[in-house]
Symmetry: C2
Subunit: 421 residues, 2 copies
């Protein structure tokens, strides 16, 4: 346990202003965000962030996949970094807190720490940094958590840069277009990573808690199913001759839902995207690319559901006289965050009298990539109505403030720990 008596105090005004400014780039008519990774809007948000970080005295680096690091060298130029952050990219028609909140809360923490550091007397062992990871959402370029995945060694930079969007534009070209195909080295000596994020689900609100201490993550497997039939006229082609890729897709969508319904909340499934060709009223679909997701806290449950899905794909193929080819594009195993960091977050929340609870994240986050690199943890704040990936995404200002306060004090506690070496 560490003394946090001389802890920094955040400015909720500055935090609100940061969030407001960051909500500007790609804002939709309904106050959401259209800011997919490496878009022009993402570029403008990145410009703002870099400018803000430099203004705070940070050294700003952009690595080879566009991850942005703002390092405040509060200890010494060579000292390891305690890192916080999240992502600035959004879903198409997404909300203005998902990811952005973690970056803004990190910036606010950094500014508060910088202010306190001017007058404090405690020795500081680590530098502090804010990171914005590239393409967390995976909406424009699959897979998700690409920037943090490269940092953690899950993917090579070449793999990441070669990912293409629906128009065939690669991430590499898109980053170059907005000026964020960087050449800087990423900071390698990271002592810990803490990410603040909105919950994106209904649990904290339902349980009337303000702080979620994220102790682990559900496992997630994602498939791309390439369904190939034959385009034909929807009129004169006899039903028995049709090789309807969309019919097979429909069967798979219902099969996924039935698997979740049968699991008593142990398994979550979804199909959120279909790419249909030619997608014309009058033409039996010749090809459908279907994107399916499976999530479970219990890894054997997830593994069994994947086997089940693969059987369902074969059944759907046969019933519609089409072929289905499955590509298992994401396999994120269920796992745990750092127990000591979870305890520290819990203690800080208790000190500030914020009602807190432990939970597991169902969504994927950059912190899951970072767990492979250093002790990592996450702090959740409530999502009103559990709504996310929706323009109506909302978190109460006092909850935003609570999360940033806990984040700042956790970071401060880590910075003022005695260096283990």
């Amino acid at each position: 346990m560490h003394a946090i008596s001389s802890a920094p105090n955040i400015s909720s005004h500055r935090l609100g202003e940061l969030l407001e400014r960051l909500a500007h780039f790609g804002r939709t008519a309904n106050d959401g965000l259209n800011r997919v990774a490496a878009s022009r809007e993402d570029g403008a948000a990145r410009d703002f962030l870099c400018h803000w970080l430099r203004h705070q005295g940070c050294r700003v680096c952009v690595d080879g996949v566009g991850n942005i690091y703002g390092i405040f060298e509060i200890a010494s130029p060579g000292a390891p970094v305690v890192l916080t952050g999240s992502h600035l990219d959004s879903q198409p028609g997404g909300g203005r807190f998902d990811g952005v909140y973690g970056v803004a809360a990190g910036c606010e923490a950094l500014a508060s720490i910088r202010e306190l550091a001017r007058t404090h007397s405690q020795p500081i062992s680590y530098n502090v940094g804010v990171v914005s990871w590239t393409n967390e959402e995976g909406a424009r370029f699959a897979p998700s958590c690409l920037g943090s995945g490269v940092y953690a060694g899950r993917y090579t930079p070449e793999f990441a840069l070669s990912r293409a969007d629906g128009d065939g534009v690669t991430l590499g070209n898109a980053l170059a277009d907005i000026g964020y195909l960087g050449e800087d080295a990423s900071p390698r000596a990271v002592a810990a990573y803490i990410e603040a994020h909105i919950e994106q689900g209904p649990v904290l609100e339902r349980e009337q808690r303000v702080i979620g201490v994220v102790e682990g993550n559900w496992g997630t497997t994602k498939y791309i199913a390439d369904i190939t039939g034959a385009a034909s006229h929807t009129g004169p082609t006899p039903m028995a001759d049709r090789r309807d890729a969309l019919l097979a897709a429909a069967r798979l969508i219902l099969a996924c839902r039935a698997m979740a319904d049968a699991s008593q909340e142990q398994l979550l499934t979804s199909v959120g995207r279909l790419d249909i060709r030619p997608n014309s009223t009058n033409v039996v679909a010749g090809h459908v690319r279907l994107y399916a997701e499976f999530r479970a806290l219990d890894q054997p449950t997830l593994d069994a559901s994947c086997r089940h899905f693969e059987q369902e794909a074969a059944i759907a193929a046969e019933s519609a006289n089409v072929t289905v080819e499955l590509d298992r594009v994401t396999d994120r195993r269920a796992g745990k965050f750092d127990p000591e960091l979870c305890q520290l977050i819990e203690q800080v929340a208790a000190d500030r009298h914020y009602p807190a609870m432990r939970l597991n994240t169902i969504a994927g986050h950059d912190a899951i990539s970072m767990r492979d690199v250093c002790p990592s943890a996450m702090i959740f704040v409530p999502s009103a109505g559990g709504i996310s990936h929706n323009e109506a995404e909302y978190t109460e200002p006092q909850h935003l403030e609570a999360g940033a306060t806990v984040l700042t004090r956790v970071l401060w506690s880590l910075l003022t720990r005695r260096h283990p070496a």
Copy 2:
């Protein structure tokens, strides 16, 4: 019955060349066509057609919705017209015979008739014309058969011009862009309309016939279903809280198929297109627009299936906790073509020893619009493998020639009839 002794002979070489030239505009890598209505490619094909018609001595008119008429005034400037033709627009990734064949066969007929007219001695009562109708496919702008529908008074020109494609471009603007928002009057005194077309189904090939005498059409009803749920995260959103528009769409797709399967080939159904928002892997679909079609030869069967579909829509809405709003966009009732014209086609085919049979068209055609205006009929030629709306669409050269020969001789027979007035 009419003498066809001094009948025109077509040039199969010229017909093949015309088809080859018309296949050039929007040709795909697999020898199909990407030439949706009022696209640049459609514009280029129209330019070629107008040039060809003028070269044949035709008066070319372009009306206010872009229909192109080439009138060869073989009788006298004021005489009524015997009209033939079809359409130049294609499905995305469609074939090079659908529609194009009817225009090319009409051109070939016109050229052959013109040659014979130089030397013939029979009195000619009518002028002859070739028409290319705008947006028959309905792939870019819904509904289909829009140009002929305006001509026949089913739609106003204002309605047609205001139809918008997926990017919000109206037909009016698209026609203006390619220079085909015409100002000419369309010919009003049309004595008969004969359209040659590929069958787009497997019947003629299976029955080893070369000429299809189309005596009527199946009824067709098309719906657009607007399915509205709520976008949410595919991870943390509990299954019970999801309002998944794509789940409801999948149920409707399977319901449509089940209705057809239960009908013993009396009903054809299909869903060929879904517009999904946001269509992102990680987001429960908040909105889906689904395009469904129902076809039956027996109108009461079709009416009953529409009532059934409307019930299924309500069930799908309730089961996925979404709303479904149905818009019945097309109601083409089952009906008959002109019996005398059918007899004439049959007689001409028999005279030339082409194996023929009567059938009903399941697909919609401009001739169905024209039936409201004047005696109308259709001549089908076989589609290899019954394949259409596919780049692999194919008709044997000798079948193309047979269809054009029958068309030409039917037109000649009509032109040389004594004027009823």
